[in-house]
């Protein structure tokens, strides 16, 4: 079983787009894949994949209701089949208040004398395990928002592994340096061993720079099989058309562009490598 969280400290480094491409690649490799969208913002995986989930309807069952132990149905019923070969547990606006809701649920559990069993940062893992979700999939990928908080903690606690898109700028490299600290902090907080499956330099300008960044990332001890060149046209096209990169190239490009195919191949290679490192 392969589980990971796509994480990057900074927004806007194509975390969700790269994530969607990886999901698609895992599915293309014949694996049963579930994506879980923990990002409450509009630019989330759920939007990108154009999944028509009732994210505004607070009365509708959603992932948060399960996390605070007030579900309205089974979690399987929340899962959407995307047209890209993998399943999605979509985002919901209630995620905006996750921290508050978890705190209150904790208080209620405390009041009922069940506080010890309620761990607000380990709820997602509990919920998935109780529903038998891990048995149904080969790969589970969680996309949390970029900020530290209960979304990220729940995601990491449920996956214990990270794939980290990195911006290959001075600032981006700083965030790689800060990564170790972050992961240590997460390990301490979640009392679990966290692994980094891959760092993915994304948006590299020149080919020579790619190699330099890869070297730098690898020197710091992170697996980094590929670096992705700057592909704003492709990635922005995905958001415009609300689809995955491979689907975009196939459906919305009148002609094949070699550099885009190269990027897709790299992502496919990255997915394969992650599967390997993850023990699939």
């Amino acid at each position: 079983m392969l589980t990971y969280t796509t994480y990057s400290e900074a927004g806007g480094v194509g975390k969700t787009t790269v994530g969607a491409a990886l999901l698609e690649a895992h599915a293309a490799h014949g694996l049963d894949v579930l994506a879980i969208d923990m990002d409450q913002q509009n630019g989330s995986l759920t939007y990108l994949l154009d999944v028509d989930a009732p994210r505004d309807d607070s009365q509708a069952d959603n992932i948060v209701r399960h996390l605070i132990d007030r579900p309205k149905g089974s979690i399987e019923d929340l899962v959407f089949e995307t047209e890209h070969g993998f399943d999605l547990l979509p985002s919901h606006n209630m995620l905006e208040n996750l921290e508050d809701l978890l705190n209150r649920a904790q208080r209620m559990a405390d009041d009922l004398g069940e506080g010890d069993e309620f761990d607000p940062y380990d709820r997602l893992r509990q919920v998935l395990m109780d529903a038998g979700i891990p048995q149904e999939y080969d790969v589970i990928v969680i996309d949390p928002p970029a900020t530290a908080g209960p979304h990220l903690y729940n995601a990491v606690s449920a996956t214990r592994s990270l794939v980290i898109p990195v911006e290959p700028t001075g600032k981006g490299m700083q965030s790689v340096i800060g990564l170790e600290e972050l992961v240590d902090g997460l390990e301490e907080r979640l009392e679990a061993e966290i692994g980094v499956l891959s760092a993915v330099p994304n948006g590299v300008g020149r080919t020579t720079d790619q190699e330099r960044y890869l070297e730098e990332v690898r020197e710091r001890g992170y697996p980094a099989p590929v670096a992705l060149r700057e592909r704003s046209s492709l990635f922005e096209g995905c958001w415009d058309q609300q689809c995955t990169p491979a689907h975009y190239v196939e459906t919305h490009r009148s002609r094949t562009r070699d550099h885009e195919m190269e990027t897709l191949e790299k992502i496919d290679r990255l997915a394969g490598r992650i599967e390997e490192v993850g023990g699939l």
């Binding site: 705190n103 209150r104 214990r160 592994s161 390990e187 009392e191 692994g195 980094v196 490192v277 023990g279």
Partner: protein, 213 residues
């Protein structure tokens, strides 16, 4: 941290035991805090301890348990001193054992047709938001802050009532077993009073209001 995948999140047998070596490493660095956390809140992430609100939790729980007996007494005392003062002393000893609710009921039967008015005149509607009994998420969990959905209303209170408010809120919090804001207590008290017209009337009479007939 390690290269490659982390521990298996869905490995059934005690996932907490896996990171033990890590915890030991951390203990070497900051043994004191870790040791403490290990003993008191084994399976709680540390961050929660840092937060003031959650930090207060475990203590409060203990309080709720250990002091629950005491609380009833204080609650009874305030109730009875405020209430019918003459009969209070006699009632107190027998009623102290009884639950708060039954105490209220017994004093109510003395004063009049309380139960009747409660069931017959539903002056106030059920709250519009989902309640704890509904399948929905209760209102306190859904709202963003205590003022949400609430209209500000000015109350004019005499000092002795204002002075008693904090103690009132504390007593309610103690009885409830969790902290509750003054705003919530005020509304709940007002709503409760709407089910207890007789009590309100009695108080007004004590202030000197006289019936016309």
């Amino acid at each position: 941290m390690k290269k490659g995948s982390g521990s298996d999140p869905f490995a059934e047998p005690e996932p907490e035991s896996e990171p033990e070596p890590d915890t030991n490493e951390n203990e070497a660095e900051e043994g004191k805090t870790d040791g403490e956390t290990e003993e008191t809140h084994r399976d709680e992430p540390e961050e929660r301890d840092a937060k003031p609100s959650s930090n207060a939790r475990p203590d409060e729980d203990e309080d709720a348990e250990t002091e629950s007996a005491e609380l009833e007494t204080t609650f009874d005392e305030t109730a009875s001193t405020d209430d019918s003062k003459a009969t209070a002393a006699e009632q107190q000893s027998s009623e102290r054992e009884a639950a708060v609710e039954s105490e209220q009921n017994s004093s109510e039967t003395e004063t009049g047709a309380q139960t009747q008015s409660r069931s017959q005149n539903a002056i106030v509607d059920e709250p519009p938001q989902a309640g704890a009994a509904d399948a929905g998420v209760p209102w306190v969990y859904v709202r963003d802050n205590v003022k949400q959905d609430r209209e500000m209303v000015q109350f004019y209170l005499r000092d002795y009532v204002v002075d008693a408010e904090d103690e009132f809120v504390d007593a309610v919090s103690d009885e409830l077993g969790t902290d509750v804001s003054k705003t919530d207590v005020r509304e709940a008290a007002y709503e409760a009073a709407m089910y207890n017209v007789e009590d309100v009337v009695e108080r007004l009479e004590a202030w000197g209001f006289e019936s016309r007939d």
